[in-house]
C-alpha cells in the first residue's frame, strides 16, 4: 500500500493557543481515513493547514512524496487536494451546475482572449466542462436540481453539491469536513453509500466527523486529536477501546 499524504510534526498556534502540536499522520492510497476528536481538538485547523488556508508554523506535509505548496489554497487544489467545508460554502447565487463548473477551473485553461473569440478549443473545453459537471451531479444524485440556485437546494443536497464541486477538481485526496453534520439517519446512510462509492472509484478520502457511528462504520483507519495532539491512530475497533480516547471524550477520573 503506498502512501498518499504524509503529515510530519505539523504545528500551528494562534497567539498563545497551540491548535496543533506535532501532528504526524499518513494516509494511504485508496483508504478512508477518519479524523475525530472532541470540539476544539484542532480537526478543522488541521484541514485548513492542509489545504493552505492557514500557513503552518512547523512541520511538513507531503502529497505523493512532494511537499505541498505553501499558503496558497489554489495551488493545493491544483496539486490534488479538494475539500468541503464544515459550514457549507457554496456559491449561493449560482446554479448547482455552475457551482460544479467552477470546480473545473484549475483543470481548464481558457483565457480572456479564448473566452472572447470563443474559438473551437474554447468551445470544446466549455462543453467538456458542462458535460463533466452534469456527470458529477448525476454521480452525487442531484442532477434534477442542476438549474436551481445553490441557495434554494435543501440542506442535504447542498452537502452533496459541495462534494460534487470538490470532485470536479479531480482530487487525489478528498477532504470532507463534517459532511453528515445536521443530517438525519436516512440522509447519513445515503451519504455513507456515496463516500464508499467515491473510494471505490479511486479517490482517497479524509473524513472529519462527529457521527461516531458513521466514522466507525466507514473508515479504514481513524486518528484522534485532543487539544491539538494526536492521541491515537488505528483501526476503528481498537480506537474505540483505547482508554486515552475514552478519557478524551468522556473525561477521565470519574468515581
Amino acid at each position: 500500500m503506498s502512501v498518499l499524504l504524509e503529515a510530519r510534526h505539523v504545528g500551528k498556534c494562534f497567539g498563545g493557543i497551540q491548535a496543533l502540536q506535532d501532528v504526524s499522520l499518513t494516509i494511504n492510497v485508496g483508504e478512508i481515513y477518519g479524523l475525530i476528536g472532541p470540539n476544539g481538538a484542532g480537526k478543522t485547523t488541521f484541514f485548513n493547514v492542509l489545504t493552505g488556508l492557514y500557513p503552518k508554523d512547523s512541520g511538513a506535509i507531503l502529497l505523493k512524496g512532494s511537499p505541498l505548496p505553501l499558503g496558497s489554497p489554489h495551488l493545493v487544489a491544483e496539486a490534488g487536494i479538494a475539500r468541503t467545508f464544515q459550514n457549507i460554502r457554496l456559491f449561493a447565487n449560482m446554479t448547482a451546475l455552475e457551482n460544479v463548473m467552477v470546480g473545473r477551473h484549475a483543470r481548464t485553461r481558457a483565457s480572456v482572449i479564448g473566452a472572447v473569440l470563443h474559438d473551437r478549443r474554447t468551445r470544446a473545453e466549455e462543453s467538456a466542462i458542462e458535460q463533466r459537471a452534469i456527470q458529477l451531479l448525476h454521480y452525487v444524485g442531484i442532477a434534477d436540481r442542476a438549474n436551481d440556485l445553490a441557495r434554494h437546494l435543501p440542506y442535504g443536497d447542498q452537502r452533496r453539491l459541495e462534494i460534487a464541486r470538490a470532485l470536479a477538481t479531480e482530487p487525489a485526496l478528498l477532504a470532507l469536513d463534517e459532511p453528515a453534520a445536521g443530517m438525519n439517519a436516512t440522509e447519513t446512510a445515503a451519504l455513507r453509500t456515496l463516500i464508499d462509492g467515491i473510494r471505490v472509484d479511486g479517490i482517497t478520502v479524509l473524513l472529519i466527523e462527529h457521527d461516531v457511528k458513521l466514522v466507525m462504520g466507514l473508515c479504514d483507519r481513524v486518528a484522534v486529536l485532543d487539544y491539538g495532539e494526536k492521541i491515537a491512530e488505528d483501526i476503528p475497533e481498537r480506537v474505540q477501546s483505547n482508554p486515552k480516547v475514552i478519557e478524551a471524550y468522556l473525561g477521565g477520573g470519574i468515581g
Binding site: T51, H74, L90, F91, N93, E98, R104, H105, A143
Partner: protein, 373 residues
Amino acid sequence: MNALLGTSNPRLARGGALLLAVALVLLPLLVGSGFGNAWVRVLDFALLYIMLALGLNIVVGYAGLLDLGYVAFYAVGAYVYAILSSPHLANIPAIAALFPLGLHLPMWLVLPLGAIIAGVFGVLLGAPTLRLRGDYLAIVTLGFGEIIRIFLNNLNRPVNITNGPQGITQIDPIRIGGVSLAKTQDVLGIAVPSLYLYYYLFVILAMLVVFVSMRLENSRIGRAWVAIREDEVAAKACGINTRNIKLLAFAMGATFGGVSGGLFAGFQEFVSPESFQLIDSIMILCMVVLGGMGHIPGVILGALLLTVLPEIFRQGAAPLQVALFGKVVLDPESLRMLMFGVALVAVMLYRPAGLWPSPTRQRELGEMRGNVP
C-alpha cells in the same frame, strides 16, 4: 444576442436582432427630427455611459469588488487621447523640436493605447487592494479616483503634461480613414451631421463592448469572477487563483473605461479634470446598481435612464412649472438632484436587485432539460 434578448429560439433571436439593428439605425433620426439635435447629443453620451457602466459591471457586478473611483480610468483614457492627439505636447520644447505641431496620432492607435494604459492603471489600483473587500475597498478606490483627478489638476508643472485645471483643448476629432466625424459628411448622397456620425460609431463600439461582456460572462473567467463574489475562500479551494482573477477584473473593467474615455476626448475635443469627479464615479455606480448588478441588459437600461431622465428634467422642469404655477418655483437643477435621490431610494426599497435583475436562470433551465434525463 440570444442571451441579451432572453430567448433560446434562434429564429426569434434573429428576428429580434434585426429589429434591434433597424431600431438603432433609426433612433437618432427619430430623436433628432422629433426633439432636436441636442437630444442626439444626449444619446451619444448615453452610449459612452453604457460602455462605462458595462466596464464597471465587470468589477462590481461580476467580481463583487466595490469601486468608487472608476471614473479615474475614464479620465486616463481621455487624457491619453487628448495628449497624444492634439497640439498640446508642442509646449514641451524637446517634443516641439521633433513635432512642432504636437503629436497627432490616429484614433486606431490612440484608442487601444488608452485602453491598455487604463488597464495598467486598473492593475495598479487592484494590486494593493487585493485583501480588501466591501467598504474598505470602496474607501481605497475612492481615494484612487481622487488621486488621479488631483494629478491631472497639477501635472502642468514642472513639465506641462496635462495643462492643469485649464484642460487640453483643440483635441483632434475622431477620424476614420481620413474622414472626420466632427463635420457633416456626405454618405450616399445624404448629409449626415457630426452628432449622428458619432452616434453610429459609438453604437458599434457599445455593441462590441456588450459582446465582449457577454462572452466573458459565460466563460470560465466569468464564472471565476462570480465565484469570488459569492465566496472567496471557497473559490480558492476550487483552485481559482483569486489574486490573478481579481486583477483581471480590475484590468478588464478599466480597459472599457479607457476606450470610453478616449471616445469622449475625441467627441468633445476638450478634456479637463472637471469631468472626472467623484460624483461621476457615483453616477456610473448608480447606473450599475439601479439597472441590475451583473446583468448586462439591466446595466444598459440603468445607463440609459440615468443619462436621459436627468436631461428631460433639466429641459422640462422649468416650462412645466411655469405652466402649472405661472412661475418657476424650484430651480430645475436642484429639482433634478432631488428626483434622482428619490428615485434611487425608491428603487433600493422596492427593487433592491435593480430595475432589471438577471432572471433566475430561466434560460438555462430550458436548454438543460434535454441533457438531463
